[in-house]
Amino acid sequence: MSKKSKPLPNRYGKKYGYTALFPIRDAANGVALRQHLGGLSEDRNGSPFSSATLIHLLRFVIIDRLPFEGYPAKQESSRQPHLVVMCDFDGAEVADLAAALARQVPKAVCGVWRHCAAFPFAAPDELAHAGAADRLAQYLRRGQVETILYLSDRPEATVTEILRSIQAQHAFAAFVESHQAAPPDQLKKGFFRLWDSLVQKPDPHPGSL
């Protein structure tokens, strides 16, 4: 199957839904990877991948047992465990994800994918080399499976827009609470002080809210 450019189903609005399956090198790497993944959510922002700012959602699932099958039950098995990757990000194609991963979270990328077969990088600093983002994109596409149906609740909203809107909601709700009895002059002044400060606030770090 051609892995060059995925059909439209992966895209919805400004978002891309990436689903992939990578073979893990062997059972021992599977154990090590599971342990590694288990520790990732201890990051202050929920994941070291949070610094890849175009990612809405990222999920890793190790599959080392294929599902139970009907009656009579048969266990199907693959020779090695596999890593399922699900990612929803702002972008048009896998190359956008690869570029962000290579530039923003190379250590996190290597920490996970070094356990997978045929991963082309031996160390995080290799992801800074020229052409690394393309090689990573090629690898990610090779593991990609065909997403036939992709749904997202707010397809036009980017990570930044959502984070800024949450930040604004916190501030505005508190403003309304404290200004219910405010005279008109204080209300107007207070609103624009709030709004102007919101506009100037930097983007919240993903995962922090």
Partner: protein, 214 residues
């Protein structure tokens, strides 16, 4: 095992649901066709899912059996799998039991025409057989990250709506007199009143019922 996104503030509202199911190879293209049809009517089909208001993302992929060997450059023995696989991944809010019940009670037989080809699939009604099938095949996520873990689907909708209203309001009221501003502000509040409920994470000690998590 980490099905629920989180950060240092508390438990997040995004929960992982991962369900791989085997599909006979002859049926794979039927599943694909069914899903393509659903995808074409994505915006209207999503209306039902939208009513459920707690599913943020949904991926339905088909993993052909040969994909299990796609990284095999000839050096290893191939995996001789008998089936292709449906890979259903969703992100939702709230405990799992009501999520599955909603599939039974709201989507009902509608989803059976695609899922029906999975080996051993009992149908989404009645609920107990369906729940058992899911429990046998479900896989827990090892890492689930959300860029906005404290915000549910409803929270995101509310915040985006509020932001849009605030921006338009700020752009159009700067030059109003204080009294006219106050009147306009009250009209704004009427438009955004149900956007003002608190947004935040869940307390760590709330082990949410029936989340498959530790």
């Amino acid at each position: 095992m980490a099905n629920q996104a989180r950060n240092h503030l508390g438990l997040g509202k995004s929960v992982a649901f991962v369900l791989p199911t085997p599909v006979p190879r002859w049926a794979s293209w039927l599943v694909r066709t069914g899903l393509c049809i659903l995808n074409r009517f994505r915006d209207t089909e999503q209306a039902t899912a939208k009513n459920l208001s707690f599913i943020s993302f949904l991926h339905w992929a088909i993993v052909k059996r040969r994909h299990f060997d796609v990284f095999n450059d000839g050096g290893q023995l191939p995996n001789h799998l008998a089936h292709d696989y449906n890979l259903f991944l969703s992100t939702y809010n709230g405990p799992q039991t009501p999520y599955v019940e909603a599939f039974t009670d709201v989507l009902g037989h509608g989803i059976d025409f695609v899922w029906g080809f999975s080996v051993g699939y009992p149908g989404s009604i009645p609920e107990t057989a369906y729940t058992r099938y899911i429990a046998l095949n479900q896989v827990d996520a090892d890492h689930n990250y959300s860029a906005y873990p404290s915000a549910s689907v409803q929270d995101v909708r509310r915040c985006l709506h509020l932001q849009k209203e605030l921006k338009a309001f700020a752009e159009s009221t700067r030059d109003l007199s204080e009294e006219h501003f106050r009147q306009a502000f009250h009209r704004l509040l009427l438009r955004v009143q149900n956007d003002l409920g608190s947004v935040g994470s869940l307390p760590f000690e709330t082990t949410t019922l029936r989340h498959r998590d530790v």
